[in-house]
């Protein structure tokens, strides 16, 4: 598939941002993940924040540290600059909703209004392959203690997500494997035989040089420590 110049530019920016998140998750210092203010953040950066979604705030969310106001302003600008169109795909809508939720959590006193939760009808009766792919794309939703529609849908189909993880590793689709693996660290009733811990290590070995893979694996590591879904 031929990629446009902007697409390449955007992908590069997303990778850079993902790398910063990975560093922050590893070091515990997340003040420099996002640009220090909306003036500094160019269009491509804002777009990259939108693409990385709620995970741009993941260090603060998982490490439970107070948000950096300047970075938060950039995040908010990205949320507001790229609202989903009316006919947007479910993953686009949900990723935007997840950002709004993250923003609200990070700054409960802020003026930002939370949009309504999108529907989950597109996952009803989905094959386990499709379900896993969609969940992996929506990996930023995989957080401890959440109770949104996608999380509930995932929680009803643990074995199917685990099958999707197996399939993703077999297909060497490391991003999907990492995203599914992050979900599995939270889901109840993962079959023991899956060998999730070894599986995540394997995905890191094979695909960990991709910052977007590394981000999911780092998130999974922290989630495994902080506990499962309630």
């Amino acid at each position: 598939m031929e990629q446009s110049g902007t697409s390449t530019l955007l992908q590069g920016a997303v990778q850079d941002l993902a790398s910063s998140v990975v560093s922050a998750l590893r070091s515990g210092d997340h003040t420099h993940v996002l640009p220090a203010g909306t003036e500094e953040a160019g269009d491509v950066t804002l777009a990259a924040v939108r693409v990385l979604g709620a995970d741009a705030l993941l260090p603060g969310t998982l490490l439970r540290t107070p948000p950096d106001p300047a970075g938060l302003a950039v995040f908010r600008k990205a949320v507001e600059a790229y609202p989903p169109r009316a006919d947007a795909a479910p993953t686009v809508r949900w990723s935007h909703w997840a950002m709004a939720r993250a923003l609200h959590r990070a700054d409960p006193s802020g003026t930002f209004e939370r949009p309504d939760e999108p529907g989950t009808g597109w996952l009803d009766g989905a094959s386990w392959q499709f379900l896993t792919h969609q969940l992996a794309v929506l990996a930023p939703l995989a957080l401890p203690g959440e109770d949104d529609g996608v999380t509930r849908a995932a929680g009803r189909r643990t074995v199917d997500v685990a099958r999707g993880f197996v399939r993703a590793v077999r297909r060497r689709d490391w991003r999907q494997a990492a995203g599914a693996g992050r979900w599995l660290t939270l889901l109840p009733g993962v079959p023991e035989t899956l060998g999730l811990r070894a599986g995540l290590e394997f995905v890191e070995l094979m695909g960990g040089q991709d910052p977007q893979v590394a981000l999911q694996l780092e998130a999974a590591r922290l989630l495994a420590r902080t506990g499962a879904l309630v």
Binding site: S4, G5, T6, S7, L9, L10, Q11, V14, D43, V44, A47, R50, V51, G53, Y82, R85, A88, A89, T91, V92, S95, H133, V137, R170, R171, R172, D173, R175, Q176
Partner: protein, 62 residues
């Protein structure tokens, strides 16, 4: 300046589609390759006379 503006316009125009594509990606094609099997090294060395005799000693270098 004019050219730069055009580039920026183009960037802005393409970007929402790019963002949507990045947020709703198609699944990557699967890549499959199975491990190959390498018969015991003695099999190669002995030309099939597996384990019948130890490998011929070679003179040490240096």
């Amino acid at each position: 300046m004019q050219t730069e503006d055009k580039v920026l316009d183009k960037l802005a125009g393409v970007r929402s589609a790019d963002i949507e594509a990045a947020l709703d990606p198609a699944e990557a094609d699967g890549v499959f390759r199975d491990s190959r099997e390498c018969a015991g090294l003695a099999l190669f060395a002995g030309g099939g006379k597996l384990l019948l005799s130890p490998p011929t000693p070679r003179p040490k270098k240096g």
